[in-house]
């Protein structure tokens, strides 16, 4: 196969086209980063007066850092909720049968594909109905609930690749189900679990459509940026955007290092790409 179709050079036209698509994907990101160092504002051409003033201003901006802290707390708890429920949900889908299982699967996965506005609004109505005040708690519940879908697909994909033989051996040797779960299943799932956690953390930090409806007095970072966008834009927003980008890329690199370290002889490493996105009917 090595000498076959695979290694054939692409026609020139296809290579140029592929390059142009990459250019389209990266052009806005590059512009954003370049203009975060631009002394004369967010627009215009060419950029002039290189400066790091916007970053200075950013680091002095207490309201923004409060929002960052809020976002990190929300994301951390959302990861706990989503994994805490996504793991049993994935196990239930993989290993049990119960009436209404198909419906359950659809319901859990629905927030993946349903526009965020619907999840956000229906949760808003729930919180209003039970008289719960909107705050970071309601946002966290919203993120946790919406992201169970990501945790479930990611862990379910990991379970499907898992060698059952080890678990069966453990059971045959007299360990009960709980012991087998803690000593065999969970350690074997760690790559999927970490992948899911990193992904959910990043998605929660970035989430805005659901948060938009569940916001109380305290802003998360995306909502803080959003409220500033409405007041007019300065390269300070480019600067914070650049930092968010650097953070996301950092998360990916971290994931790579972890994966290479964790990856044992088997090839069962979870893909960096959420199984969620690979095919929603997973």
């Amino acid at each position: 196969m090595s000498a076959g179709f695979q290694s054939r050079r692409a026609p020139l036209l296809l290579r140029v086209y592929a390059f142009l698509v990459y250019a389209f994907l990266y052009f806005p990101i590059i512009v954003l980063v370049v203009y975060s160092f631009n002394g004369s504002g967010v627009g215009g051409f060419p950029p002039a007066h290189w400066t790091v003033d916007w970053y200075h201003q950013l680091f002095m901006d207490a309201a923004l850092w409060d929002a960052v802290l809020n976002s990190v707390i929300v994301a951390a708890v959302a990861v706990a909720i989503a994994l805490g429920l996504g793991l049993p949900a994935a196990l239930a889908l993989d290993r049990t049968d119960f009436p209404g299982k198909a419906l359950f699967r659809r319901l859990v996965l629905l927030p993946l594909i349903l526009p965020g506005i619907i999840t956000g609004l229906s949760l808003l109505m729930l919180f209003v109905a039970v008289g719960m005040k909107l705050s970071l708690v309601t946002i966290t519940l919203g993120h946790g609930t919406a992201l169970i879908s990501v945790a479930t697909t990611e862990i379910f994909a990991g379970l499907q690749k898992l060698e059952r033989a080890q678990e069966e051996a453990s059971l045959d040797l007299g360990a009960n189900h709980w012991r087998t779960f803690w000593r065999v299943t969970l350690p074997n799932l760690r790559v999927s679990l970490i992948a899911a956690a990193l992904l959910i953390f990043t998605l929660s930090l970035d989430e805005i459509a659901v948060s938009f409806f569940l916001i109380g007095r305290d802003n998360t970072l995306p909502l803080e940026i959003w409220s500033r966008l409405r007041r007019g834009i300065t390269p300070e927003i480019n600067a914070i955007s650049t930092l968010i980008l650097v953070f996301s890329i950092g998360m990916i690199l971290l994931w790579y290092r972890l994966r290479t370290r964790l990856q044992s002889a088997d090839e069962s490493a979870a893909p960096l790409v959420p199984a969620a996105i690979q095919g929603e009917s997973a």
Binding site: M1, R8, R9, A10, P11, L14, R15, Y17, A18, V21, Y22, F24, L25, P28, V31, L32, G41, G43, F45, P46, P88, A89, L91, A92, R95, T96, F98, F104, L107, V108, I113, L114, I117, I118, T119, L121, S122, L123, M125, L126, L141, T145, I148, H177, F181, T202, D206, I208, F212, I233, I237, S241, I244, L245, I252, L272, I277, Q278, G279, S281
Partner: protein
């Protein structure tokens, strides 16, 4: 094989959570859609179909819905036109650089939605980078206004955001095509083009379908890009919902629109799932 206790432990907690935080809220949303708002701005719980009748009678809502569907269809087509060739290039021609080039598609996916939307705002604005560039080259002498605050701006921004989403399932289905089929087609004398058309394209259709569904549904429910770059002519159906839940204060009508959107999305998912199954079987 698994004990009853094990099955209960993995089934009940996610089932309960999903019922409380997804099923009940959707049910509340559905109830709201039959209520109304009194002149004193309180919700009146008298059940009727007024909201749905109003949606059917008032052409404004249908107009906005059709515009949203047009925008969503455009984004889907563009995302496929950009995503498919790149996925094909990655799968069949990227050879040694495959991993790296694939990850380059993933990075923008992890980059914040808001950051990318904001980047386009700074590019397309009347004092933006594009206008600055055009004036710098003396192609135009005044800022071109229609770049920003138009359906065009919404389409380009959302195409940028959803192209990687569309590419991934396509890439996954291309990767699943047995390479010996492609080899056989070559050996039997088919040209690369007819190999593509008669072997590769048909086998990748399930991925195309999944990617297209993603792009269409996520665009259809988007309300942030229209607020960020769309302007009045770029208003979409979700923006109507947002205003009904905000300044216009008519939750019941907003709930009715949301429910229709939900119905639309679920129907679409149902149809594509059916189609996908038929494609895979044949």
């Amino acid at each position: 094989m698994y004990s009853r206790a094990y099955k209960t432990a993995v089934t009940i907690p996610p089932l309960l959570w999903v019922t409380i935080f997804l099923l009940v809220p959707y049910a509340i949303l559905f109830c709201y859609s039959f209520w109304s708002v009194s002149s004193a701005q309180t919700i009146v719980h008298n059940w009727n179909l007024q909201n749905y009748l109003q949606l059917a009678r008032n052409p404004i809502y249908l107009q906005v819905l059709f515009r949203s569907m047009r925008i969503a269809a455009s984004v889907t087509v563009f995302a496929l036109l950009l995503g498919y060739p790149l996925a094909y290039y990655l799968s069949f021609h990227a050879a040694k650089r495959k991993d790296l080039l694939y990850q380059l598609v993933i990075i923008p996916l992890w980059a914040s939605y808001l950051v990318r939307g904001y980047a386009w705002k700074t590019i397309l604005g009347s004092d933006g980078v594009l206008n600055g560039f055009l004036q710098y080259l003396h192609i135009t002498h005044k800022p071109v206004e229609f770049f920003l605050y138009s359906p065009f701006a919404v389409i380009i921004t959302l195409t940028h955001i959803y192209t990687p989403f569309t590419l991934l399932p396509i890439y996954a289905s291309l990767e699943h095509i047995p390479r010996n089929l492609v080899e056989a087609s070559h050996d039997l004398g088919a040209s690369p083009w007819s190999t593509f058309r008669r072997v590769i394209l048909p086998l990748s259709l399930p991925g195309v379908l999944a990617g297209a569904t993603f792009a269409f549904v996520l665009t259809l429910g988007d309300f942030l890009a229209p607020l960020l770059v769309g302007g009045p002519s770029g208003i979409m159906i979700s923006n109507v919902v947002v205003s009904l839940f905000g300044a216009a204060y008519n939750w019941p009508l907003g709930a009715a629109i949301s429910f229709c959107m939900m119905l639309l999305v679920v129907t679409l998912l149902f149809i594509t799932e059916r189609l996908e199954k038929r494609l895979v079987v044949s």
